[in-house]
Amino acid sequence: MASLVLYPDDERLPRAAGITLNFYLVTALVLFLAMMALGLGMRSSQAGWLGLPPDWFYRFLSLHGAGMVGTASLVTTAIMWFFLRKYVQLHLWAFVANYVLFIIGLWCIVLSVMAGSYAGLWTILYPLPVHSQGMWSREAGAIFMLGYLGIGMGQLLFYLDAAAGIIARYGNFSRALGLQWLFGGEIDQAHPKAVVASTGVLIANTLGLLAGTVALVMSLANAVYPSIELDPLLIKNLIYWFGHMYPNATIYMGCIAVYELLPRYTGKPFVMGRPFLWAWLATVLYVVLVFPHHLLMDFAQPRWLSVMGQLASWVGGFPVFVVTAYGALVNIHRSGIRWNMPARLLVLSMFGWMAGIVPAILDGTIAVNMVMHNTQWVPGHFHFYMLLGVLSMALAFMFHLVGQRHGQVPPDSGGDRGSLPVYLLGGLVFLFGFLGGGRTSVPRRMAQHIDAWTLTDRIGSIGAMLVVLAMLYFVVRLVIGLLRPVAQAAGDGDGLADAAR
């Protein structure tokens, strides 16, 4: 069971592990800020406040999409590693290898976009990366895809190490997921939720990565030998299989921080019941089957796949976020939680996840999708749970770690208290700029907007400015905080959850 001690001894990292974790977190913070700046530039350009040439818009959009999801995965992998290593044996080399391959992949993507002018978006939809009508070279498209391969291979190594650790401890995935308690028996409350979540994530995302490597290598084969023609619909299915699971996995890895940290700030254990286990099982199945809801507008797609996508969206989309959010609310209820930065961000992340998934499930409905899918409704929903959900989870984790370095007291300075409302307000304004744009049928992914569309662009841009401002503060605050040495506890037994409240 997750500890109620705020900073337990088993979370003290050896020097090499601490340095590696800092590399992950500092890199993620800098990348988040850089990608946000690109996003702000694009929204300002759509608003008519910045004259970004269309080719640069699409280059930035490619970099922003790939960079943001990759960075979210990087930081939530760090969360999974940090907590999972307490329960199973993980190897630092796998964690380091993931980071190194991520950086190599990132540089491939940056090189492809900045030097090679690649602007075919993160979706790398065949045959766009190698048929650019002269906008970028075939090599640039190939390097972008090689970057994805590098990042995917790193993630796969990390998952395999995690799988080995989990199997060595629990025997197989079924027992790690707690499936033996689905229909009866007394659930072992000491069975870590971090293990359940990690197992679920690595099953689903490994399948996604497998689909992704097949699609990428086939696309690369086409880049080298253009006479090899691929089925565009099949490769699109594979890309979205991988492309849906990869960002979703960031939520599921990130919510390990909620399971582990929230009880420490409330002083109450996060109870694990049968609904929790059922929900995670449903999520593993859902996340594998749901990808066709990205292809509801593809008329050539077999009908049964579209129906499966919609059913999976409605049946499987809810369970984990319901049990997590409801569990969090029960955990907070009458707990006397003290609202310091990690606690606030954890609760905010629940809101971001819950509120963001509603427009997502709506868009996964065929009748709605036909109207909304090519509008800004879609970036509205995924920015909702990525910005206010996943990023809040990551920030909560990092603020918690900063407290470990500041006398084992969770941070809650005036600057922190002031910046969070700016982040939340800016985030909501930014997000409703997108959702409002969707409501009025403003198309997405367009570099230039007509005057009638610019009202929501301008609202969104103002929100984005506030978010970037708050993020700038977070980055400076967290980088300085994370680079300080870990403080010694005032005495044995200090750091109990009571101390946090």
Partner: protein, 193 residues
């Protein structure tokens, strides 16, 4: 280190010799699917069985170059790549030296290293090898299916497309078996890390 069982000592050699007979070659090389999916794996199996004959001293020397089974599995993976190319499968029928290369490299550079390295490999190394094997089955199968023209002189288009379909089916089956084993089985190798 787990030692290989010594029973069936001559099985590998016998299998190798049987596969080399004109009758077996004629039958198994009559189609691409049989050559890639039956003859080549059987040649690998012959090497796998032959590993039991290796003297302990040789095994110890090889083991010192094969920490965690990485070198052996890497060798097997690299050597297996060219044998998936239609040009080589075709050439094996026409050029005796290519046939000789096939009959020596598949047992000695794929089957034998697999037999020696697999028990040494932990779940991560095995996982990388198996994932790549499954992904390769999908990729190569797909390539055979979409190849715009007949790739071999000796095999027709329908044969190469049958092989493509068979590889895709094998990829799906291997994924299901691996998933079931990880989910409900007793996967080995987790302790060796």
């Amino acid at each position: 280190m787990k030692t290989l069982p010594q029973d069936g000592m001559w099985g590998g050699l016998l299998l190798w010799l049987v596969l080399a007979t004109p009758a077996a070659r004629g039958f198994l090389e009559a189609s691409m699917s049989l050559q890639m999916l039956v003859q080549m794996p059987l040649l690998g199996l012959a090497g796998y069985l032959l590993a039991r004959h290796l003297p302990e001293r040789v095994r110890r020397v090889l083991a010192s170059w094969d920490r965690g089974g990485v070198s052996g599995l890497l060798l097997a993976a690299v050597v297996s790549l060219p044998w998936m190319l239609p040009r080589l499968m075709d050439a094996a029928l026409a050029a005796p030296w290519v046939e000789l290369a096939k009959f020596t490299s598949l047992p000695l550079l794929i089957g034998l290293p697999l037999a020696l390295s697999w028990p040494r490999a932990g779940l991560v190394v095995r996982g990388v090898f198996l994932m790549e094997m499954v992904a390769t089955a999908f990729r190569v199968g797909w390539l055979y299916l979409v190849a715009p023209q007949q790739l071999c002189v000796n095999y027709l288009v329908d044969d190469q497309q049958r092989l493509g379909t068979a590889l895709l089916v094998l990829g799906v089956l291997a994924t299901l078996v691996l998933a079931c084993q990880l989910m409900w089985g007793h996967p080995r190798g987790a302790a060796l890390r």
